[in-house]
């Protein structure tokens, strides 16, 4: 039996994975809840974020990438929104899935065209390199930074969604967008803002993940399925669902790999299937 430190380490790893997934899934799930739009290319935006961060970091250091990536990906989001997504709003989920599927293909090769096929990496700043003593173990400082960042963003979003006017408007829009429009809420503008913030968070996730993983063209594809699992388990459209889904995925995946390596990857899919059978709309859907 390994010592308690081992389990602390695994728990922190799980938490760190959860936070990364949260950054991606929250944007996707709120966009879906508000606009009923399934953006399969969300993972590709994350990959673009990682590439932008890597390029910027090569010039101006880690923090340049950290701040530039969300801005750049939000910019890309604006382009996509006005070029494609606004026109696809009225189409069924099938057409949306397919258009964003096409976007995955296109963005994949575009990143290859711009950044090449070789993996890129990012140097960590001195502040975040190294390890920190915590709960009796030495844990990489950068992973603690991701956990802290994730928790801070959860808190910020909970505040914005729960306590501010725009948050109330978003919740009203998720609940019933036609009714929200009747109440004088500019739903189109709301969609636009939420879409941009969702994209920015995807870009941020890419920038944050870049130093941990190597930056490759298909990193967007690799993260897409876990993100979709998170939002479907959690229930589409809700912050609570995204948090719960991320934590479930992070812990099941991490502890599954330790306790039952043979079953680890099947386990999470089996869990998803079980959730869909018992609660076909996820654990905490935005709409009852």
């Amino acid at each position: 039996m390994p010592d308690p430190g081992f389990w602390t380490l695994q728990a922190l790893n799980a938490l760190q994975l959860s936070m990364l997934l949260f950054l991606l899934s929250i944007g996707l799930t709120v966009i879906f809840g508000l606009m009923h739009f399934v953006n399969l290319a969300h993972g590709s935006l994350y990959a673009v974020g990682a590439y932008v961060a890597a390029s910027a970091a090569a010039v101006g250091g880690y923090w340049a990438g950290f701040f530039l990536a969300p801005v750049a990906v939000a910019g890309l989001g604006i382009l996509l929104y006005s070029g494609l997504i606004r026109r696809m709003r009225r189409s069924g989920p099938m057409a949306q899935v397919l258009v964003t599927f096409g976007l995955i293909f296109a963005l994949l090769d575009l990143s290859r065209l711009i950044w090449g096929d070789l993996a890129l990496s990012i140097e960590l700043p001195a502040l975040l390199a190294g390890r920190t003593a915590l709960l009796g173990i030495e844990y990489p400082t950068y992973r603690l930074f991701i956990i802290g960042l994730g928790l801070a963003i959860i808190a910020a979003l909970a505040f914005v969604l729960g306590r501010t006017q725009i948050g109330a408007m978003i919740r009203a829009g998720v609940d019933n967008d036609a009714m929200a429009a009747c109440l004088g809420i500019n739903v189109e503008r709301l969609f636009f803002i939420v879409f941009c913030v969702g994209c920015a968070l995807a870009g941020l996730a890419g920038a944050v993940a870049a130093p941990l993983l190597s930056v490759t063209p298909d990193m967007g594809l690799q993260i897409l399925i876990p993100t979709l699992i998170v939002i479907v388990i959690g229930g589409l459209g809700s912050l609570k669902g995204a948090v719960a889904g991320s934590l479930i995925y992070g812990f099941v995946q991490t502890f599954g790999a330790v306790l039952a390596p043979q079953l680890a990857s099947v386990l999470i899919y089996a869990l998803l299937a079980a959730v869909l059978v018992i609660k076909p709309v996820g654990l905490f859907p935005a709409k009852g």
Partner: protein, 333 residues
């Protein structure tokens, strides 16, 4: 409801003639491409049966095909079964797996159905990928083709094998048309149009969905067993969700719910892939842009677009151009 129109019969005849011509005249490389098209066509008409006529947009048909391929390979290579028995078993196993997936996912709709089928597909993929018996990452080789020498047919000849796959496609097509015209298929179309009403009429909706999904799985299993025999080697990549996604793309490119369209789509997709990848290594970009353009154009794929134009022209001829109906003609499903 599925109907054959003169246009559909004509397209089928043209496709059959082209395939036969190619099968007789093509060189080795051409035959490889033809076989690839034929096997993909079997998979996508199986997918069109559930997606286009039942609204069950499945993202696990690639994985089902993979299950068929692995079942055939394991049963022949590891269990020593004779190829005909293994083929039948592969079809049965895939059909059973599909029936279970269909039964479990029957309550889910829209994006949740897509996600649920994706989950099952990935489950199969991860399992096969991680299990050493299945060859893991390396895959399985040395797969034998069906032995039909008793009938004077040698399937190890690539020309004969292409013809064999053409026959399999024709048989699958007839089977699907038969299913769609049966009571089961009629009820499936009813479910797609109005599931609540079918239930209120007394139909056990989940059973119909599961049954048709199972039948579709059997045909996907046949495609898988043929793919295994074609390449004589299989890897877990066959079960990846990208294959399922591509199958869906082919159905859409061709024309959802037209059954003939997806065959056209399969041919277009494979040819495009080979043509474009010969020119540039960025063929995903080309396919992505084409896919976006097709979906944004709101035409129902290549064949759907042709059908719309055809009906509009016929209507113009009948009524005169002055009062030609401007509204989009229905692509009848």
């Amino acid at each position: 409801m599925f109907r054959h129109t003169p246009l559909r019969y004509g397209t089928l005849a043209l496709l059959a003639a082209l395939a036969l011509f190619k099968a007789v005249t093509a060189d080795y490389f051409g035959l490889e491409i033809l076989t690839e098209i034929l096997i993909l066509a079997i998979l996508v008409i199986a997918l069109d049966m559930v997606a286009g006529f039942g609204g069950m947009v499945s993202l696990c048909h690639g994985a089902l095909m993979g299950v068929g391929a692995f079942a055939y390979a394991l049963l022949t290579v590891k269990a020593g079964l004779t190829p005909p028995l293994a083929l039948a078993a592969a079809i049965g196993i895939t059909g059973g797996a599909a029936w279970i997936i269909g039964a479990i996912c029957a309550r889910s709709h829209g994006i949740y159905f897509i996600m649920a089928t994706l989950a099952f597909g990935q489950m199969a993929y991860s399992y096969v990928f991680q299990t050493p018996t299945f060859g893991g990452d390396d895959g399985l080789g040395g797969i034998a083709r069906l032995d039909l020498t008793a009938f004077g047919i040698d399937l190890n000849d690539s020309r004969t094998f292409a013809l064999f796959c053409l026959a399999a496609l024709a048989a699958s097509y007839c089977a699907i048309v038969g299913i769609l015209r049966s009571g089961l298929g009629r009820s499936l179309t009813g479910i797609m149009h109005n599931e609540q009403r079918m239930r209120a009429l007394g139909l056990t909706v989940w059973r119909v969905k599961a049954d048709v999904f199972g039948l579709s799985g059997m045909i996907a299993g046949l495609a898988g067993a043929l793919a295994a025999q074609h390449m004589m080697f299989i890897s877990p990549g066959l079960l990846s969700w990208k294959v399922s996604g591509e199958a869906l793309v082919v159905v859409i490119l061709g024309g959802l719910g037209t059954l003939v369209g997806p065959i056209v789509g399969a041919a277009a997709f494979v040819l495009l892939k080979h043509e474009v990848s010969a020119l540039t290594s960025y063929w995903h970009l080309v396919v992505g842009v084409i896919l976006i353009a097709v979906v944004m154009s709101r035409a129902n794929g290549i064949f759907g677009w042709i059908e719309t134009r055809w009906t509009a022209r016929k209507a113009t001829r009948r009524t005169g151009p002055a009062d030609a109906p401007l509204k989009e003609a229905r692509t009848d499903a």
